[in-house]
């Protein structure tokens, strides 16, 4: 992979150059933690590199919390042009990049149906990844097979801090093109070594902090085979159905469609993100609700991520970012729930 050295003082120029592709969003460290910001030109040169992923996932730039799907009956909405305002997202960590494939499977790569709005956003976004420079206390990407740095094939460009600046990796043709005309020197062996060492250190730290949560049975099997485990009720006990976990989750995209009267005698159709944590998520006309009980809804999120999604796409719909742990007012830790299911299973077998 091609790699170049970007001196600290040139970050403004670098960002300015990328802004030719589109509006620039950048993850930045702030007093309230890492945040995703839409930059104005004046901000390009002021960059505070966040150590770990931010509070906000990037999903809202691809799957909006609310978006208009159609005006009907207006046949100009029958087809949708693949055009969205181009944008650049700088600073996507490994866990956030891993989420994109999980959306792609559903909204872009399905054989039968394509979501034109998602595809528009996806095609017109330049993905700039970034290394993590520490392991967050709730991070568990290593347990899901992800890495604290951008994985090959998942980004257009990526940046990794080194002494005196950053190393920029070229991950795709599109990434390379976005940097056309921006001159940088090749990264030195020392720079690359520095990156490799840091990556190994962080991986080691993640291994250490998550070793107690490691299960010997794969998550799919644990969740699929143990629908009646007492661990569900035990760990779901403090859930209050607030849906914070699904809101901050980079891969929770369950939505619903709603319609309302619009202007000029037309009607409007919207997509709004929903949450399986809400009591009426599965509520049907006629009153039946297969997941009316809180514990069923609690279980459903794990089922969706580790069993149903995996059954269909052979990968987990969880990237190990740990945002759900960080934001849970009931202090529910997904790693503990999964570990406990295994413990209960083992004690049951004995």
């Amino acid at each position: 992979m091609d790699s170049f050295f970007l001196p600290e003082e040139k970050i403004g120029e670098f960002t300015e150059h990328l802004s030719r592709f589109g509006k620039v969003y950048r993850y930045e460290q702030s007093s309230s933690g890492a945040r995703l910001r839409l930059l104005s030109e004046d901000d390009y040169g002021k960059y505070s590199f966040p150590e770990i992923r931010a509070a906000e996932p990037a999903k809202f730039l691809f799957i909006k919390a609310k978006r208009k799907l159609a005006e009907y009956f207006d046949s100009s909405w029958k087809t949708i042009a693949i055009e969205e305002e181009p944008k650049v997202i700088i600073g996507l960590k490994g866990c956030d990049l891993a989420a994109i494939k999980i959306w792609d499977n559903v909204f872009r790569d399905d054989e039968d149906y394509k979501d034109p709005f998602y595809i528009s956003a996806r095609e017109n976004t330049l993905l700039v990844g970034a290394d993590c420079t520490s392991a967050g206390e709730n991070c568990f990407c290593n347990l899901l097979g992800n890495k604290p740095f951008p994985a090959e094939g998942e980004f257009d460009l990526s940046i990794s801090p080194v002494d005196g600046g950053y190393v920029v990796f070229i991950g795709s043709e599109r990434g390379k093109k976005a940097l056309d005309g921006f001159s940088m020197q090749n990264a030195s062996q020392e720079h690359l070594k520095q990156i490799e060492n840091r990556r190994n250190e962080i991986l080691k730290a993640l291994e250490e902090q998550n070793s107690k949560y490691k299960t010997s049975t794969p998550y799919r099997e644990l969740v699929e085979k143990n629908p009646e485990s007492p661990a569900w009720a035990k760990h779901g006990e403090t859930c209050v159905s607030c849906a914070a976990c699904t809101y901050v989750c980079p891969t929770c995209f369950c939505f619903q469609i709603y319609d309302k009267p619009g202007p000029d005698g037309k009607y409007e159709r919207f997509l709004v993100l929903d949450s399986c944590k809400y009591p009426r998520f599965s509520f049907m006309a006629g009153g039946l609700n297969p997941r009316g009980r809180l514990v069923e809804r609690f279980k459903h999120r794990y089922n969706h991520k580790f069993f149903h999604y995996h059954w269909r796409y052979e990968q987990y719909a969880c990237t190990g970012c740990g945002r759900c742990i960080e934001n849970c007012m009931g202090k529910i830790d997904m790693r503990e729930t999964l570990k406990d299911i295994e413990k209960q299973e083992q004690s049951h077998k004995q």
């Binding site: 009907y72 559903v106 394509k114 629908p227 369950c254 469609i257 319609d259 006309a285």
Partner: protein
């Protein structure tokens, strides 16, 4: 020019050309689309009541290709309440679809077919019956067992006689409780699966398709298993809340199956071990 992609969320206009009162709470709506519409028996559509919302229904009319389409609807929620109370002949509603897999008609060829319906559940089954009748030579026999709460709640009564007259076909009805003037079988639909009520379907050779409320599907399934059917022979029209219809909103699952993509008719063998199959 940027590439254009079909908007899977856009409903095509469908004009209401006739409304048939089936029962006090069930109506059949006949629609005319601008262009011919094609669906297989058991596939469903998302019906839009403009400005109010969408709900999934399996058409009750003859499968194939036609600009005309019929949907038989029970008044039971926000969208269907509005439909029953406000929608008139001449109004334009919307249709997306068809979605889903439909009934396993090919698989059933050369076998007996047992059709078990409850209440408005006979609606999707009627489209299945149209397909069966069209190729009746391909099937050994068609047995229809249909139950409703009272004689007034039976749908398509104006067609029952024609069905019963079809070759290799029999139709048995039941109502839940005794009712003045009703001399037929009384009891929930499972009583029609009792030998003493004339049940003579070959349990080793028949496929079953069933549609009705969840509670009925549950007891029909248990009864079928009881009298010797295997889970592989039973196909159930499952009910789950659905929104997109295209496998994206991820809510209409039974186990790992999404009813919109993998159903809505599910072979019981596939779903039987998952929790909350019957709600």
């Amino acid at each position: 020019m940027p590439e254009k992609v079909e908007n899977i969320y856009y409903p095509l206009p469908a004009k209401v050309t006739e409304i048939i009162d089936e029962t006090p709470t069930i109506k059949t709506y006949r629609f005319e689309m601008e262009k011919p519409f094609t669906f297989r028996a058991g596939q469903f559509v998302q019906l839009t009541v403009p400005g109010i919302g969408e709900a999934p229904f399996t058409p009750s009319s003859k499968p194939g290709t036609s600009p005309e389409l019929e949907i038989t609807i029970l008044k039971t929620g926000r969208v269907t309440d509005y439909l029953h109370e406000k929608v008139k002949v001449g109004d334009t509603l919307g249709i997306r679809g068809p979605f889903g897999k439909g009934y396993p008609l090919e698989k059933m060829k050369g076998h007996e077919v047992l059709v078990v319906g409850g209440g408005v559940g006979l609606a999707p089954l009627r489209s299945c019956l149209y397909s069966l009748f069209e190729n009746i030579d391909d099937y050994k026999r068609v047995s229809i067992k249909y139950g409703a709460r009272t004689p007034k709640d039976l749908v398509f009564t104006y067609q029952h006689e024609d069905w019963a007259k079809m070759p290799k076909t029999d139709l048995k009805l039941t109502i839940d409780n005794p009712y003045p003037g009703w001399s037929g079988t009384v009891g929930v639909v499972t009583v029609l699966l009792d030998r003493e009520n004339g049940f003579d379907v070959d349990v080793n050779d028949a496929y079953v398709v069933s549609c009705g409320p969840e509670i009925m599907l549950k007891f029909v399934t248990y009864k079928l298993l009881d009298i010797g059917f295997k889970p592989e022979q039973i196909y159930l029209s499952m009910n789950r809340r659905m929104s997109c219809g295209v496998g994206m909103c991820h809510r209409c699952n039974v186990g790992p199956y999404y009813l919109c993509k993998d159903g809505p008719d599910m072979c019981y063998a596939k779903i039987k071990d998952y929790p909350n199959v019957f709600g």
